[in-house]
C-alpha cells in the first residue's frame, strides 16, 4: 500500500510522515505503505549545499529528448522520457543512473536505480526509521525482501570530482529509496512498501522509482500490476497509469485494525 502524508508536513522533512492511526496496530498499517511526498515542488535548500533539481514531468522529459540539459548548475539528467509505454521503450537495465548532479562543494552525486534487489537490511531499517515507520523485526524484513519478486532501490553515491573515474575509493553509497513487488511470476504482481528518504523527497524520485519498477515488471510479462494506495496518494498513482477500483473492483482487507 502506498501512502502520502498530508502535504502540510512537506516543509519539515524529518517530521513523522504517517498519520497517527497507522501506528495504532501492528497489522496491516505497518506492513504495506510507503511514505512519499510527490509534491514536486522545488526542494528546500539545506545548509550550504546548493541543489538544483528538475521536476520530472512527462512533458519536460519530452522537451529534452537529447538526454540531458546543461545549465549553470551542472545538473545532468541521463534518463530518457518517463512515460510507461511497454512496447516501444527500451529494456530497463538492472542498474542505471537516474540523476547526476554536481554539488557546491565539488562533490558529484549520482542517484542510481537498481532492480537487482541488492539491499542491506540494516540500511533499509534505517530508512524506515527515517520516514517514521514502526520498527519491524530485521529477520522478517530480510525474509520479506527475499520473498519479493522484485526489489527496486535508489542509492545516492557521492564522489569527489577528482576520483570520479576510480572505483569505490572515496565513494559514499547511501540507500535513499525502495519499492518492492510480490508476484506469482506469471499473472499478478503487487507493489508494497514504496519509500523515499525525506531528504530526497519532492524531486520526483518516488515517481521514477515506481515507474521503473512497473516497466521492469511489464517487461517480465506480468500482466496485472496492482497496489493499495492511501487516499492521499491515489492521484499520484493515477498519474503513473494506475486506476482505482477498475470496473468497480474493490480492494478489501481482512479485519484491518
Amino acid at each position: 500500500m502506498l501512502l502520502i502524508p498530508t502535504s502540510s508536513s512537506s516543509s519539515s522533512s524529518s517530521s513523522s510522515l504517517l498519520p497517527q492511526s497507522f501506528f495504532n496496530s501492528n497489522s496491516y498499517s505497518s506492513n504495506h505503505h510507503s511514505l512519499f511526498l510527490p509534491n514536486l515542488r522545488y526542494p528546500i535548500l539545506h545548509g550550504s549545499r546548493k541543489l538544483k533539481t528538475l521536476r520530472l514531468r512527462a512533458n519536460f522529459w519530452e522537451s529534452i529528448r537529447s538526454g540531458f540539459v546543461k545549465d549553470n548548475n551542472t545538473t545532468q539528467l541521463v534518463e530518457p522520457p518517463s512515460t510507461i509505454e511497454e512496447d516501444t521503450e527500451p529494456l530497463v537495465p538492472v542498474e542505471f543512473t537516474l540523476v547526476e548532479r554536481t554539488l557546491q562543494d565539488g562533490l558529484i552525486e549520482e542517484i542510481i536505480f537498481s532492480s537487482g534487489g541488492e539491499i542491506d537490511v540494516y540500511d533499509l531499517q534505517g530508512l524506515c526509521d527515517k520516514v517514521g515507520w514502526p520498527r519491524r523485526p530485521l529477520s522478517k524484513l530480510a525474509a520479506a525482501l527475499k520473498n519479493s519478486y522484485m526489489v527496486a532501490t535508489l542509492h545516492s553515491v557521492m564522489k569527489s570530482d577528482s576520483d570520479s573515474s576510480e572505483g569505490d575509493n572515496g565513494q559514499k553509497k547511501k540507500l535513499i529509496g525502495m519499492a518492492r513487488a510480490t508476484s506469482d511470476h506469471a499473472f499478478n504482481a503487487t507493489i508494497w512498501d514504496v519509500l523515499v528518504d525525506p531528504e530526497y523527497q519532492g524531486q520526483g524520485l518516488g515517481k521514477a522509482l515506481v515507474e521503473k519498477l512497473v516497466r521492469a515488471l511489464l517487461q517480465r510479462d506480468i500482466a496485472n500490476i496492482s497496489l493499495f494506495a492511501d487516499s492521499q496518494v491515489v492521484d499520484f498513482y493515477q498519474n503513473l497509469g494506475f486506476e482505482a477500483d477498475p470496473e468497480g473492483i474493490k480492494g478489501m482487507f481482512w479485519y484491518p485494525k
Binding site: M1, S21, N26, S27, Y28, S30, N31, H32, A58, N59, S82, T83, I84, E85, E86, D87, R136, K140, A143, A144, L145, N147, S148, Y149, R180, T182, D184, H185, A186, F187, N188, W192, V214, A223, N224, S226, L227, F228, A229, D230, S231, V234, Q238, N239, L240, G241, F242, E243, A244, D245, P246, E247, I249, K250, G251, M252, F253, W254, Y255, P256
Partner: protein, 163 residues
C-alpha cells in the same frame, strides 16, 4: 438442531468432517490438481482461459492454496490461492467455486481455511480484490473494502502518462 429463533443466524461453517461426509476432499497442495480441470472451473465462472503452463508457474510461486476435490468425479470444484512475501502481506487470488457446486458453503470453507493457514504463518495483512457482485461474499468472512479510504489500484496498460 434448534430451529426456533435462529432463522437470521448465518449457517455454521462447514467443518472438515462435514465436507468429507458430503463427498468433498480438502486439499492444501497442488499435488493431484488437474490444471486443465481447474482452468475449466475458471472459465465456468467467467475468468479467461489461461495457459496451463503459466498456471503451473503461478502455483509454484504461491504461498498457500486450498482446493476442494469432489470425490465422485475427482475434479476440483473450489479453489483459492494466496501470494505474498511470506511474513507481512498476502493477497488472495482466483477464488472460484464451480457453478454446479455454489451456494453450499464450499467457497466459505476454502476461504476460512486459507485465512487460517496464512495466519498460522504469522501474516497479519491479508488482502484481495473483489468484483462488485461478490462483495457480499467476502464481507461476512471479515473483509472490509477501502478501510481508512485505502483504494485498490491496478496499472492500466497502453496508457500514456498525460501529466
Amino acid at each position: 438442531m434448534l430451529l426456533g429463533g435462529t432463522i437470521s443466524t448465518p449457517p455454521a461453517s462447514l467443518r472438515d468432517e462435514d465436507l468429507k461426509s458430503r463427498g468433498f476432499l480438502l486439499r492444501r497442495t497442488a499435488e493431484g490438481l488437474n490444471l486443465d480441470q481447474l482452468n475449466s472451473v475458471f472459465v465456468a465462472v467467467g475468468f479467461p482461459r489461461r495457459d496451463t503452463a503459466k498456471i503451473e508457474v503461478a502455483l509454484e510461486h504461491t504461498d498457500a492454496l486450498l482446493w476442494v476435490e469432489y470425490e465422485k468425479t475427482q475434479r476440483p470444484v473450489a479453489f483459492a490461492r494466496a501470494t505474498g512475501d511470506g511474513v507481512f502481506n498476502a493477497i488472495i487470488w482466483d477464488v472460484v467455486v464451480d457453478p454446479s457446486f455454489q451456494s453450499c458453503g464450499l467457497g466459505k470453507a476454502v476461504m476460512e481455511r486459507l485465512i487460517e493457514d496464512l495466519q498460522a504463518k504469522g501474516i497479519c495483512n491479508i488482502a484481495l480484490y473483489s468484483e462488485p457482485r461478490v462483495l457480499g461474499f467476502y464481507r461476512p468472512l471479515g473483509f472490509v473494502s477501502d478501510p481508512d479510504g485505502i483504494r485498490g489500484m491496478v496499472f492500466i496498460r497502453k496508457q500514456r502518462n498525460k501529466k
